[in-house]
């Protein structure tokens, strides 16, 4: 094998580290994307028996956004195994206890339940904030695109821009300002 081909071989089977910013992202929608990178399904050489999955680092998992009333409607089930050991934890309660748990469970459920799943999950790193260890950060070479736009708050938009923004609604002629 020539030197050039050897390097190509290394590059093909090397693990790439991807970073994903969970800020204002739906964990259940982004789980599908994260799973794809974790299992290596974005590669043309993908095969279930081929160990070609990548590493994904999720940051800002405390800032995830759930849709509508999901924070109080979604329940996470756990059973201790003893009689009467069932418990249902609401999504906001779980997020209070561990801000990384919702995204981890979402990715775990997005994958098929086979023997490989637990090993694939080992390649997922989740951090609640932006501070991640230096040795993790220096491996990262790629960023996964966010699925949803991060919304801007009205008080964070500069006043000049608010003032010069086109106007859609005009007051009626006899309106009394308040």
């Amino acid at each position: 094998m020539s030197a050039c081909k050897r390097v190509q071989q290394w590059a093909t089977f090397a693990r790439t580290w991807h970073i994903f910013d969970c800020k204002w992202q739906d964990p259940y929608q982004s789980a599908g994307v994260i799973k794809k990178y974790l299992m290596g399904m974005h590669k043309p050489i993908y095969h279930p028996l081929n160990d070609c999955g990548d590493v994904v680092v999720c940051i800002n998992s405390r800032e995830i956004a759930l849709r509508g009333e999901d924070w109080r409607r979604r329940a996470y089930f756990h059973h201790t195994g003893y009689p009467g050991g069932a418990s249902w934890t609401l999504a906001w309660e779980l997020h209070n206890k561990d801000p990384t748990m919702i995204i981890r469970k979402a990715v775990y459920r997005a994958m098929q339940g086979n023997l490989q799943r637990r090993h694939t999950m080992e390649r997922l790193f989740i951090y609640p904030g932006e501070d991640i260890p230096e040795d993790v950060l220096q491996n990262v070479t790629n960023q996964i695109r966010q699925l949803r736009l991060v919304p801007t708050r009205l008080d964070h938009i500069p006043e000049e821009e608010v003032k010069n923004y086109p106007k859609v609604m005009d007051y009626p002629e006899d309106y009394i300002l308040k």
């Binding site: 956004a65 849709r67 509508g68 979402a106 949803r148 821009e161 608010v162 003032k163 859609v168």
Partner: protein, 181 residues
């Protein structure tokens, strides 16, 4: 007989208290007004000051944008209101548009002020409340509100986004995440 007496009474009443006098205005009742209260000493002065509409030169209307296209459209379909005519895809995150339909304390303006059609008024009103719940317009809220979402309690504390498709749904279906439970 009774009708004649009733009509006679109403004629007499109208001649004494002429109600039509209220409809005649000697002053021009146009322009936006602002009510100002001034207090100097024991005297309280309340005056209505006429003001020009703020940022009127930035007003966007569909008929001004493309006069020829709108004129041809008007022959077959007329749009019920100015927002329908603009054909904007407004999302609940477009706070710069939504804040125009809102009073300074964050309440939605009524339809007689906004001049929207029924459907658009409902849609904009719902999107305003979505933006408020998501904490995107927290500078436009009453003083007693817990403004910052981080300072709210329980499930209100965390980021929430909304789907605009659910606005006109009778019953909002559970999110289908296709995962096993």
């Amino acid at each position: 007989m009774a009708t004649i007496i009733r009509n006679g009474f109403s004629l007499v009443r109208k001649s004494i208290f002429p109600s039509s006098a209220r409809a005649i205005a000697t002053t021009k009742q146009l322009n936006i007004k602002e009510i100002r209260e001034q207090k100097d000493g024991s005297k309280l002065v309340i005056e209505g000051v006429t003001l020009p509409s703020p940022r009127a030169e930035l007003l966007v209307r569909a008929e001004k944008l493309t006069p020829s296209a709108i004129a041809s459209e008007e022959s077959d379909v007329t749009k019920p209101c100015y927002l329908c005519a603009l054909e904007l895809d407004v999302k609940h995150t477009d706070v710069l548009i939504l804040s125009q339909f809102v009073r300074s304390d964050g309440c939605m303006l009524p339809r007689r002020v906004t001049g929207l059609c029924r459907r658009q008024q409902k849609k904009i009103g719902k999107m305003v409340s979505m933006a408020q719940k998501a904490g995107l317009m927290i500078n436009l809220t009453p003083a007693y509100c817990k403004k910052d979402p981080r300072k709210r309690k329980d499930y209100k504390k965390f980021n929430t986004y909304f789907d605009e498709k659910t606005i006109f749904m009778k019953r909002i279906p559970d999110q289908n995440d296709r995962f096993k439970r």
